[in-house]
Symmetry: D2
Subunit: 283 residues, 4 copies
């Protein structure tokens, strides 16, 4: 047995889980496939098989075309809502006697099973990124099919919990940051477009400029949001002077004011998740 | 202004938030204090102030003695349950017409406000660790006061979402691991106690031994769970030979079997959170 | 006493050394200054003071203008050559009786004191980088004043020892490399100029392209030399197809040949130091 | 071709070099072998072959027994001294006319070829560590055979240049340091022996204790020298109170004095190399 790397072990675990399933039955068209896979993912206990199944769901999902994805979201909506019969039982029990337990039963029964589905899909390697990408597709369909609003609410609910500000890591963005990340910063700048690398450099390298981005450990090297700061000696009256390439930089020591002149959300798939507010409130 | 480090900026943000509050009013005994702080934390919109308040809640909580903590958990139970009047309205609306919206309203109304309280406490620097420690206290009180079961259910619910297997990072534990982490491994080993550093070394350094631990990014250098593996040429019949110091190590290349002979949960505050199952199922 | 960081401690040490000197006497014009500083640096035993003096020499050197630097190199040439009287004694001793000792005495006496001067200047924080920069100035003067050839020989001798291939670290250069390093790669590419970031990316990111650079631990993030490699299915007949933006990338697995199509030396101050040869021989 | 890691590439380069040689001729007993290999290493131009040869020299050297090593050091002494005929020519030239060139020729001709041999052996992967280990053997033989003094002088000369203080990196040693490094600290403590992990911890973890070690980039995770510091409120009168386990730690902020109470050299193979002085002078 070759010296097993961590990746090897993880793979082995996933494969062992995989071998517990008969994946051949999922052979009748990608969508049916996907729904069957999701059913099993929700019904199974063992997380080992769970990892393998979640992986499979994501692989199959990616193979879908636009229309198929739309139908998959519809089946998410209709198939994985709350368990209403359980809910009605819980409501009756609650009405006969309110208690922590009966209240809790209502809460659990009224929780859409989509929540648990998303939790389990997140087990897959790269699961978080895959779910953020899935929501990008969902938002596109939502524009033309408002009946998917509830499905999106569930994505939002899970993401708000996972991307809790307390889990985000803030990193300085400067000229020592990797080109891969800087490129994303350039693409995502939404307020004052960055024209080219020279322009970018002018925003992160001078002594009186700062750029900070928030990252989530499960989305390595994927900035979630970033803010551009100008250190100045007076409150900014206009953006022109701040972006001007002619201005003379001042030393950070001389600055008295930090102007948060631009904030950009990098992840369309995380639209509306609250970590955004947080920084804007600082602006 | 000195060159602001990331920590500086985070602090500034927290302080700016802090300055938006009048913390002096919280001056009449730690418990009342704490409840008032939690009320405000739940009621406020701005996350900047939220960070400052969450920080304050944790500071005050730590200052409580055992009995005071018990009373705080009781007030969590009674004060931050679901909003029943809202719930009853939602139920009536649902009974008049089931729909995504009415179902969703029930779910939201029946959700204990403790969930949101925990989410907001997690905003504090080191919040996650503080909440895991808080649950250790809670479990102690739960043993003598079963009425706190529901409060614990809410901690479990949040932790299951936050510590989703997909967010955990697996790292090899070996002789190049820091003494701080190795010491925890030694303390937490629950199955086959580790006598001393020599014993520990015998389990992580030989060519036919492996140790892996799972970490959560928000609990840096805090192993959550670890598993000890013996690479052997045959399925293990007994633990004796595996732990024997006399045995000759084999090279990993010659091994045909990986025996997961021990798995230990390191965080009492995460008891019952499912990432444990996962590995055990691999054993 | 504030919790002392490593930097603090190093500074303290340097300062303590500094305080052992009276730096005020160095007050009569930068060049004289510099020569006095170098004399003291060579004459002193304590390395603590050595660190402070070396630091001072470099500070003063940087303040010199071109002509002053030229005169400083001249004084290096005349002032810090071998000790001829010692040498003649050693030669006589050797001629009376050859032995390890007499041979060694000749070698030591014939060694220009510049060697030791360079060794001691290297004690300064950032000393290695400062000396590499100093040689850039020296090479400029050498073009118009061949009498400095011997001074340059001594720089070469020290650099060949310090930049021994065994101390260099090879790192893959790709899109995850910092912009600061990538920018240097772009500037230094000497064989097939890199037009812009897009061109650069085409050379480091595709599956069939590789770029490796050598670094020296004392020149952090300063590539010394880098080589661009194309993975192909056949020996390259021309550079055109390799640099063509139209070509289709192949997967590294399919490649049978690694074409080292470009190698560039990044450090004018290290011209002629042999690690260059090494890679070219691999080309 | 599998995605080539840096190691792969380095190996390839070494192998390509290797293939340029006919290593089969080195087949008549390890010592002869070694001398032939060293001759070739010194005579060859291409560093690629150099890497392969240097590697080979080290492999063969390690296979020698004590007596064979002694004889190898003797052959180093007699075979790789200065080139005396060249030297005499250089001396004559110098006596006819002193000049930079004639002086330089004397210096080069009087330099033992061992210097170049050591430089080239350092080309091998892990060459620096191998040479430091080689000197440990040499020092053992030197005790019984003083005729090897000159060979050791040459090791010292090279090491003084390579381990120039300017190339050393100082790192804080604390409870977050790897067990592998801490174990070496424990073994190497020469002044006040460290009894066990508990004792060690008492010296690196309390708020009023510091431990710093110097590392060389080419000897990864091998401390060269370390110093133990006690932060106190008064100059130490005796070591007892400092090492006492009963004492109460003070906070670093309250400390007024840093007592360097112990300094230990970790590398017998670097005995006498000057970075030691440096710290002692600070004590």
């Amino acid at each position: 047995m070759p010296n097993p790397s961590i990746r090897d072990v993880l793979t082995t675990l996933a494969e062992r889980g995989r071998s517990l399933l008969d994946l051949d039955r999922y052979s009748s068209g990608p969508e049916k496939n996907l729904t069957l896979l999701c059913d099993d993912l929700l019904s199974m206990a063992g997380e080992a098989s769970g990892v393998a199944l979640a992986k499979q769901v994501i692989v199959v999902y990616r193979s879908l075309d636009d229309a198929q994805k739309g139908r998959f979201f519809q089946s998410m909506k209709h198939r994985y809502g709350p368990d209403e019969s359980k809910l009605q039982t819980a409501i009756r029990a609650y009405e006969q006697g309110a208690s922590d337990e009966t209240l809790n039963d209502i809460n659990r029964a009224s929780e859409p099973r989509r929540h648990e589905l998303l939790r389990r899909l997140n087990l897959a390697p790269g699961g978080t990124a895959a779910l953020v990408a899935m929501r990008v597709d969902l938002l596109k369909h939502l524009r033309v099919d408002s009946s998917l609003a509830m499905v999106d609410k569930d994505f939002q609910h899970m993401f708000s919990s996972w991307f809790n500000r307390g889990f985000l890591v803030m990193r300085r963005i400067d000229w020592n940051t990797s080109a891969a990340i800087l490129e994303k910063i350039t693409q995502y700048e939404a307020v004052h477009a960055i024209r080219d690398w020279r322009d970018l450099r002018g925003r992160i390298e001078p002594s009186d400029r700062r750029c900070y981005a928030f990252f989530h450990p499960a989305l390595e090297d994927e900035p979630l949001i970033f803010v551009e700061v100008a250190l100045t000696t007076e409150p900014a009256r206009a953006i022109g002077p701040i972006l001007s390439e002619e201005r003379d930089s001042i030393s950070a020591e001389d600055a008295t004011t930090a102007v948060f002149y631009s904030i950009s959300n990098c992840q369309p798939g995380l639209r509306g998740i609250s970590f955004g507010n947080f920084l804007i409130k600082q602006g």
